[in-house]
C-alpha cells in the first residue's frame, strides 16, 4: 500500500532542475514564467530545486556547447533514479541557428535519452506546462518499472 502511495505521489510532486547548456536565456525566462502567478505550475506540485540530487525532472535548454558538454553529462548522472529528461526549445533538439558551429556538440540525444521534447524558439509557457505534465506521467511509469 505504501508503495502504491509512493507511485501516486511520484506524479504529484515533480521537482525540476534546470540545466543551461549554452542557451540564449530565452527558454530559461519562459521556464521561469511557468512558475509565476500567471501559469502557476506549483499547483501541479512543481518546484524548482537547486541541486540535481533532489530533482525528478531535468530540463535542458541550449544547443549543448563544447564548454557545457562535460558539465551537462556529469550533472545528468548525478540525478537519482527515476528521472526524466526534458529538452526545452529547438536548440537541444536540432541545434537551431547554431547548427554546424564548431562550438556545438549537439544534439542532446547524442548524450542522453530525452523523454519529452518541447519545440519552439522560444516555446510558449502553455507548451512547457503540457510537456512537464506529460513528463510526470512518464516519471510515474518509470517508478513502476523500477519497482519491478
Amino acid at each position: 500500500m505504501f508503495e502504491k502511495m509512493i507511485d501516486k505521489s511520484m506524479a504529484k510532486s515533480p521537482w525540476i532542475f534546470h540545466i543551461n547548456a549554452g542557451s540564449c536565456n530565452g527558454c530559461d525566462i519562459e521556464l521561469v514564467s511557468v512558475l509565476t502567478p500567471r501559469y502557476d505550475a506549483e499547483r501541479l506540485g512543481f518546484r524548482l530545486t537547486g541541486t540535481p540530487r533532489q530533482a525528478d525532472i531535468v530540463v535542458v535548454s541550449g544547443p549543448v556547447t563544447l564548454q557545457s558538454r562535460d558539465r551537462l553529462i556529469r550533472t545528468l548522472e548525478q540525478v537519482p533514479q527515476p528521472r526524466v529528461v526534458v529538452s526545452l526549445g529547438s536548440c537541444p533538439r536540432s541545434g537551431n541557428v547554431f547548427k554546424g558551429s564548431y562550438a556545438i556538440d549537439g544534439p542532446l540525444e547524442k548524450w542522453t535519452h530525452v523523454d519529452v521534447s518541447v519545440a519552439g524558439c522560444t516555446p510558449k509557457p502553455e507548451a512547457i506546462v503540457a510537456a512537464l505534465a506529460q513528463a510526470t506521467q512518464i516519471l510515474e511509469q518509470k517508478r513502476k518499472e523500477m519497482r519491478k
Partner: protein
C-alpha cells in the same frame, strides 16, 4: 578514627613522587621498566584515593595526617598537615583519574619522542604536586606544590622543543605564571603576619575574629584570589593557556586543562568559602562571578578565530572553567554543586577532546584546521569519540555537559531571583549564549577536521592503535555515565563535597581537636547543604528519544531490502562514475573552489570592531601579558582594599 586509613593520603602523594624518582633511575636503562613504574605509581595513587571514598564521601569523615606526628600543641598547629575532607577528595578523585588516563595514553602517544625518562619523571612530579595541593591542610605547602606544579608544567609544555613556539609558549607560561605564584606567596606572608599560623583549619577558625578590622587581610585575600585565578587561567591570563596548549603534548594538555585549572578552582573555593568565609559578601560574589563570566564569554569568542586545533580547545577550556568560577561565586549550595559538577565534567570531556586532538596529531602530524579534513573516512573511531566529547562540551542532552550546565542556569537564575539582581540574570543569559557559541565552534571543528574533503596527503592515514583509544573510551564512557545518572553523581559526590564546605566547624575540629571551633565560636558556614530535589532526571525521556530514533531509523533508513541492495551494488559497480561525486554545478570535484573556510563570517562581520580590539589585545608579546596580569592584580587589590 581509622588510623590505618589516615596514611592513605600521604601514601597516594608519595607513590607519585617516589615513582618519579625511581622512573628517572630505571628508565635510563630500560624504558619498559620505566613505563611499568609510572603505571604502577599512578595506579597506586588512584587506588589509595578510591579507598578513601567510603570513609570520606559516604561516612562524612575528615581524615587528617600530621607529618612526623607533629600534632598541634596548645591550640597552635606548627607541623605540616594533610587534611582530606569531601571537597579535597572530590578534587583528588578528578586529579587521579585524569592522571591515570593521561599516563595510559602517553605510553603509545609519546612513542615517537626521545628523552622519555625525563617526560615520565616530570609527569609524575606534576601529578604528585597537584594531588599534594588538593589534599594539603597547610597553606605554605599549597604554595610549595603550586611551585612544583608550575615548573614541571612549564618543562612539559616545552618538552617537544622542535615545535615552533614551544619554548615561547613555555616562557610565557613561566613569566606570567610566576606572577600568580608570587601573588600566592605574598598573600600567605600577609596572612601569616596577621594570624601567625599556616594551617588551613586554624586560619579558618581565627579568621572571623580578626577579619573586618584588618586591611592587610583584605590585601591578602586579593593576592591569594588572583594567584589562584592565574592557576585557573582566568580572564586576563587566558592567552597563556592558549600558547601552552598549542605546543604541549596532548597528554600534558589534558593535565593542564583538566587538572591544573582545577587547582585554581579548588583554591578559590577553599579561599572564599572556608578560609575567609566571605563568599556571601556581595563584593566577593561580584568579583568571582564577574571574572568567571568574562572569561567564559571572551574565551569562547576568541575560539572563533583559531586555526590550530588545540589552541581552539584551549580557549574553550578556559571558557568552561569560566562557567565553574561563575557559579562558585554565587555562594549558594546549588551554585557550588553545579560548579563542582561542571568542574568534574570539564575534566572528562575536555580530556577526551584533547586526546582526540592528540590522536589526530599523532597520525597526521598536523593540527592545522585549514589543512586537515575528511578524517572520518580514515579514523572513524576517533571521529565517534570526538563527537561524544563535542556533544558533551556543547551541552547536548544525553551527555554530561547538559546535566551540569542545566544546574548552572538554574543556579544563576535562582540567584538573580533571590537577590533580585539583574547582574546574575545577565550572567545567566551570558551562560546560555556561551553554550550556543561553544556548540557553533565545535561544529566548525567537526566540519574542518573530520568531515569535508580528505586532502591527498592524508589518504594513507590510519586509525590510532587500541592502546590510545582505550583511555579515550574510558573518558567517553564517563561522559555518558555522569550525564545519564546525575542523581547518583549528586548523592555520592556533590552533596558530600558541598556539605563539607557548609560545615566549617567540622573541618576545624578534625585538624585542631574537638571543641576548638566551639571555643572560638566559628560560624557554621556560608552556605546550606545542597537540596536533593534539584537534579535533572533524564531517564524518562531519554528512553523515548532512543525508541523514537530506533523506530524511525528502521523505517526510514533500512527501507525495503531491495533498495538497499541496489544502493550497494551501484556504489560498488560505478565507483568511478561521476554519479557519486559531490555536486559542484557540473564541475569536477578538484575544481571546486567553494568552501566554508571562514565559517563564522556573518557573525564576525557584525562584530568586527570587537574582534579587531581582541586581535590587538592578544599580541603574543609576553610584556603585554605581564602588564595585563599586573593590571588585574591592581584591580583586584583596589576592589579588596576599598570594599572589604
Amino acid at each position: 578514627m581509622n588510623t590505618f586509613m589516615q596514611n592513605f593520603p600521604i601514601l597516594a602523594i608519595m607513590s607519585l613522587f617516589l615513582g618519579a624518582f625511581i622512573t628517572s633511575l630505571v628508565a635510563r636503562h630500560s624504558q619498559k621498566a620505566g613505563n611499568f613504574i609510572s603505571a604502577l605509581s599512578v595506579t597506586l595513587a588512584l587506588g589509595f584515593i578510591l579507598a578513601l571514598f567510603k570513609p570520606v564521601m559516604l561516612d562524612g569523615q575528615i581524615i587528617t595526617y600530621w607529618l612526623g606526628g607533629w600534632e598541634p600543641v596548645a591550640g597552635w598547629a606548627i607541623g605540616i598537615c594533610l587534611e582530606v575532607d569531601a571537597l579535597s577528595l572530590f578534587f583528588g578523585l578528578i586529579v587521579t583519574v585524569a592522571v591515570f588516563v593521561s599516563c595510559l595514553y602517553s605510553f603509545t602517544y609519546m612513542n615517537h619522542d626521545d628523552a622519555l625518562p625525563n617526560y615520565y619523571t616530570l609527569f609524575l612530579m606534576l601529578s604528585g604536586s597537584v594531588l599534594g595541593l588538593v589534599l594539603s591542610g597547610d597553606l605554605f605547602n599549597v604554595f610549595v606544590m603550586i611551585e612544583i606544579m608550575t615548573f614541571t608544567a612549564v618543562a612539559l609544555t616545552a618538552f617537544r622543543t622542535s615545535y615552533e613556539g614551544a619554548l615561547e609558549g613555555a616562557f610565557k607560561y613561566l613569566a606570567v605564571g610566576s606572577l600568580g605564584s608570587t601573588g600566592v606567596l605574598v598573600g600567605i606572608a600577609l596572612l601569616y603576619s596577621q594570624l601567625h599560623t599556616l594551617n588551613l583549619a586554624q586560619i579558618a577558625a581565627l579568621m572571623p575574629v580578626t577579619q573586618g578590622s584588618s586591611v592587610v587581610l583584605a590585601i591578602a585575600f586579593g593576592f591569594l584570589f588572583i594567584g589562584f585565578g592565574t592557576k585557573a587561567f582566568l580572564f586576563p591570563f587566558h592567552p597563556l593557556a592558549a600558547d601552552a596548549h598549542a605546543v604541549a603534548p596532548a597528554s600534558i594538555s589534558l593535565m593542564i586543562s583538566g587538572v591544573l585549572t582545577k587547582c585554581g578552582v579548588y583554591g578559590i573555593i577553599r579561599l572564599t568559602y572556608i578560609l575567609f568565609q566571605n563568599a556571601n559578601r556581595p563584593v566577593v560574589s561580584y568579583l568571582v562571578t564577574g571574572f568567571g563570566a568574562v572569561s567564559m564569554f571572551v574565551c569562547v569568542t576568541m575560539a572563533f578565530n583559531q586555526h590550530n586545533f588545540k589552541r581552539l580547545l584551549a580557549f574553550h577550556s578556559i571558557s568552561q572553567v569560566g562557567y565553574v568560577i561563575t557559579v562558585v561565586g554565587l555562594s549558594s549550595a546549588l551554585g557550588l554543586g553545579a560548579g563542582l559538577y561542571h568542574a568534574m565534567n570539564h575534566t572528562i570531556f575536555k580530556g577526551l577532546l584533547f586526546l582526540t586532538a592528540g590522536a589526530v596529531q599523532h597520525q597526521t602530524g598536523s593540527l592545522d584546521l585549514d589543512r586537515l579534513g575528511g578524517l572520518s573516512k580514515r579514523m572513524p573511531k576517533t571521529t565517534a569519540l570526538f563527537l561524544i566529547g563535542a556533544a558533551s562540551i556543547s551541552g547536548l542532552p544525553p551527555f554530561n555537559g547538559f546535566a551540569s550546565k542545566w544546574m548552572i542556569y538554574q543556579a544563576t537564575f535562582n540567584a538573580g531571583l533571590l537577590h533580585h539582581n539583574l547582574f546574575y540574570l545577565a550572567v545567566c543569559v551570558c551562560a546560555l549564549l556561551t553554550s550556543v557559541l561553544t556548540l557553533a565552534s565545535f561544529i566548525k571543528v567537526t566540519q574542518s577536521v573530520f568531515f569535508g574533503q580528505l586532502p591527498k596527503e592524508y589518504e594513507q592515514v590510519e586509525e590510532v592503535p587500541l592502546a590510545m583509544r582505550l583511555p579515550m573510551w574510558i573518558l567517553a564512557v564517563l561522559c555518558v555515565v555522569t550525564g545519564l545518572f546525575p542523581s547518583l553523581v549528586q548523592t555520592y559526590l556533590l552533596t558530600p563535597a558541598v556539605s563539607a564546605i557548609a560545615n566549617i566547624p567540622a573541618y576545624v575540629d578534625a585538624a585542631m581537636g574537638a571543641g576548638y571551633a566551639a571555643d572560638r565560636s566559628v560560624p557554621g558556614g556560608v552556605i546550606a547543604s545542597l537540596p536533593v530535589t534539584n537534579t535533572w532526571t533524564p531517564t524518562a525521556w531519554l528512553a523515548l528519544l532512543f525508541s523514537v530514533t530506533c523506530a524511525v531509523a528502521i523505517v526510514a533508513i533500512l527501507g525495503s531490502p531491495k533498495d538497499r541492495q541496489h544502493e550497494y551494488i551501484s556504489q560498488m559497480g560505478e565507483e568511478e562514475s561521476a554519479k557519486y561525486d559531490s555536486f559542484f554545478s557540473g564541475e569536477q570535484a578538484v575544481y571546486s573552489q567553494v568552501g566554508g573556510s571562514d565559517l563564522f563570517w556573518g557573525f564576525k562581520h557584525n562584530w568586527r570592531k570587537y574582534f579587531a580590539v581582541m586581535h590587538n589585545w592578544h599580541s603574543g608579546i609576553v610584556n603585554d601579558y605581564t602588564l595585563y596580569g599586573v593590571a588585574a592584580i591592581a584591580f583586584v587589590l583596589l576592589v579588596c582594599v576599598t570594599t572589604l
